[in-house]
């Protein structure tokens, strides 16, 4: 039967060990200090982050200290790179040039001098573009690698605007004064205004404006000559010249043409029509006309002074 009174557990205690001589465990002074050192945040961080990272760097450095290993790894990497680059997906097979005439296309092909097929990684498009644009006949170029291994070069050619005769040769220049080609290389350039003289390529716009203004002269206009790199002469087919001033030459030319319309001055015996001084029109007569003028003046003088020359 269970007793009604609760007992406080067994009244038998296990006998304590006879030799209770064992001392309480205590950490030695050094283990205590090591634990405190370990719990120091800086030391802890140093040991957990600093030492492994140092060891990693040291081992990697040790490995790469050997020249042969370095070159082997470098060569391996290069080999992999080459394998990837030489895959057919990256190969450029065809060079196509758009927007240029045949001689320019030939010149571009020659300038690019590509040894196709080659990898697209080896193509430095920026440098190639510079090479194409360095050609005189090319105003701008646009290079792109299209799918299917096609290198497309889209070219804007320079359009010749003037024939420029220099002391050495005759060449075509465009509206900005850039050299396009020698006259001999482009026999099919069509009718273009002609200019001459040093520095004419720097004022192409003025030359074109003058040429437009001189349209009433028609076939009689031979060309324009830049004089002293500062002003223009209009040269007509029979060797006569209209000397234009430095400032506002187009207006001066208009005045000369208006004068011509009114008086047909160019139809007379005039060698030069000098408009350099805007206030005063000067005319150089031909020697024959001059002589005639003198004769007429002498005659007029005799008439006024009586019958001296009779």
């Amino acid at each position: 039967m269970r007793p009604l009174i609760a007992r406080r557990g067994p009244t038998r205690l296990p006998a304590p060990p006879v030799h209770e001589a064992h001392r309480d465990p205590a950490p030695s002074i050094w283990s205590y200090r090591v634990q405190r050192l370990w719990l120091t945040p800086l030391f802890h961080k140093l040991l957990r982050v600093g030492v492994p990272s140092f060891a990693t760097v040291f081992l990697v450095g040790l490995y790469f200290a050997d020249e042969a290993r370095r070159t082997a790894i470098w060569d391996g990497a290069q080999e992999i790179r080459r394998e990837i680059e030489s895959r057919p997906e990256f190969r450029v097979n065809v060079l196509g040039v758009d927007g240029a005439s045949d001689p320019v296309i030939e010149a571009i092909r020659g300038a690019l001098a590509l040894d196709l097929p080659m990898s697209s990684f080896d193509l430095d498009l920026a440098a190639l573009r510079q090479r194409v644009e360095a050609l005189p006949a090319v105003a701008s170029a646009d290079l792109r690698i299209q799918s299917g291994g096609y290198l497309a070069v889209r070219v804007t050619e320079r359009v010749p605007a003037l024939i420029w005769q220099t002391r050495d040769d005759t060449q075509l220049i465009d509206a900005e004064g850039h050299f396009v080609a020698g006259l001999a290389d482009r026999p099919d350039h069509g009718p273009l205004p002609a200019v001459a003289g040093d520095g004419a390529d720097r004022v192409v716009g003025e030359a074109l404006a003058l040429h437009a203004a001189a349209a009433p002269l028609g076939d009689r206009l031979l060309g324009l000559v830049r004089m002293g790199e500062r002003r223009w002469d209009v040269v007509l087919t029979d060797g006569r010249r209209i000397l234009l001033p430095e400032a506002s030459p187009v207006q001066a030319l208009d005045r000369a043409l208006a004068l011509n319309d009114a008086t047909d001055i160019l139809g007379r015996d005039v060698l030069r029509l000098d408009l350099r001084n805007p206030d005063r029109l000067t005319v150089q007569l031909t020697p024959h006309a001059m002589e005639e003028l003198r004769r007429l003046r002498a005659l007029e003088h005799d008439t006024r002074t009586g019958e001296q020359s009779g």
Binding site: E20, D24, A26, Y32, R33, L39
Partner: protein, 444 residues
């Protein structure tokens, strides 16, 4: 006195430094066990009590992140007896607590139970020159207390202003800002033997720790186990430890008396060991398991077997009834309590408005102790357990840890002490540069 002042201020500076860092350890060096708690202060209010009156400068929140207890070695009557042994015990406890907290502590606050504390009530008064009480006036009136002859080789452990009076008004806790003519103060001074502090300092230093504060164990036990109204209305806390039974009297939230009876639970164990002729550790086990102080008829029938292995058959198979065990324990417990009553009477405890007595400490766990104590000490006896503190492990919630928990509270909410105030200029050594600076600051 000035050396003490300097050293206490140095300890206070260390404590504030530790609180700024956020981690401090408290160490309760008892006769029976040595326990260490590691406190972590919240950063929200890490600014330690400012200059001047500490308790009014805000409180710091803390939680306990490490706790360890080990059997104490080399401590007798709450004093360090064998330095090496105690040092090893401190190392054990601190290492275990550090391991639990995973943080290294450098500063430690220690509670001392023994070393014959002696309480003095001092009073000082001064005439206010400016009419309004300032920090400087508080410091001056504290310095005006005439210190009695403490005796040779004694050091001041606590010097707490308990009560301020201004003219006819008394009971001021903080006189600053009040207007009056005469300011007087009552101060409670607690001294202990100097060699105990020196030995303790040596021990702590040998453990690579720095002493950041010292407290008296009865004081901190009272702080943790008396509830607020008991502290306010007057109560005595009796901390029954292993080697000493210490008592402290509180009123108006200040300790006004502390004393120690150099007897405790270990003496009860010794009596059992002698009376029943069994080894000490066996006696300790029997005491904790079957011990009591009030015998009933039931206890005559409860038979405890005292086994041993000496080889003597009769000796190895002795039995004892629980009533006999109680008969051995009770006289010693009564002796302790009567001694405590004597000390309380000497302190004038019966003149206090409330005569609450709170028993705490490891030895207060003897069953039936409250009944015996109320017979001897008076009716208003209760058993006290320490305050609940955040993060405290369950195993350290018992009454045996009341002084440990109280020490943690003391570290977080220190009371104003005499050395928390700037020393007045005329007490500084003459020709001191500090004095010149202070004169300038006061007069310009």
């Amino acid at each position: 006195m000035s050396i003490l002042y300097q050293s206490q201020r140095a300890m206070r500076a260390k404590r504030q430094d530790a609180m700024r860092r956020g981690v401090i350890a408290v160490l309760d060096i008892g006769t029976h066990k040595l326990s260490c708690l590691i406190l972590k202060f919240d950063q929200t209010n890490a600014s330690a009590p400012a200059e001047g009156i500490g308790a009014m400068a805000g409180q710091a929140n803390f939680r306990i992140i490490g706790a360890a207890t080990t059997r104490s070695r080399g401590v007798r009557f709450g004093e360090i007896d064998s330095v090496q042994e105690t040092e090893r015990a401190i190392r054990t406890a601190v290492q275990a607590a550090q391991k639990m907290a995973q943080v290294r502590v450098d500063h430690v606050i220690v509670a001392l139970a023994g070393a014959r504390p002696r309480s003095y009530g001092l009073d000082g008064e001064m005439t206010l020159t400016s009419g309004t009480v300032t920090d400087g006036c508080v410091a001056e009136v504290l310095a005006a207390c005439d210190v009695p002859d403490l005796g040779h080789g004694r050091e001041v452990l606590h010097a707490q202003p308990v009560n301020f009076s201004l003219d006819h008004r008394t009971g001021l806790t903080d006189p600053r800002g009040h207007v009056g003519n005469r300011l007087s103060v009552d101060m409670h001074l607690l001294t202990i033997e100097a060699h105990a502090i020196e030995t303790l300092l040596h021990c702590v230093k040998r453990c690579d720790l720095e002493l950041a504060g010292l407290a008296s164990a009865p004081y901190v036990a009272g702080v943790s186990s008396l509830v607020e109204d008991e502290q306010e209305l007057g109560a005595a806390c009796i901390d029954m430890g292993g080697g000493t039974t210490s008592l402290s009297i509180f009123i108006k939230k200040h300790m006004i008396y502390a004393d120690t009876v150099r007897m405790g639970g270990d003496h009860v164990t010794g009596d059992i060991s002698q009376g029943l002729q069994i080894p000490m550790n066996h006696a300790e086990r029997i005491k904790t398991r079957f011990g009591g102080v009030m015998a009933t008829g039931m206890d005559d029938r409860e038979i405890i077997e005292l086994e041993s292995e000496t080889g003597d058959w009769h000796h190895d198979r002795r039995t004892v009834t629980r009533a006999e065990l109680i008969g051995v324990m009770r006289p010693r417990v009564e002796e302790i309590l009567e001694e405590v009553r004597g000390r309380l009477e000497a302190a004038g405890f019966e003149h206090l408005p409330s005569q609450r007595i709170v028993l705490t400490g490891g030895a207060s766990q003897i069953p039936g102790l409250d009944g015996l104590a109320s017979r001897i000490l008076g009716n208003q006896v209760r058993l006290g357990r320490p305050l609940r503190v955040q993060g405290l492990p369950q195993s350290t919630c018992g009454p045996a840890f009341s002084s440990c928990v109280g020490l943690a509270l003391f570290a977080a909410y220190p009371q104003d002490e005499w050395w928390d105030f700037e020393t007045p200029a005329d007490r500084l050594p003459s020709r001191s540069l500090k004095r010149a600076v202070k004169w300038f600051r006061d007069n310009w």
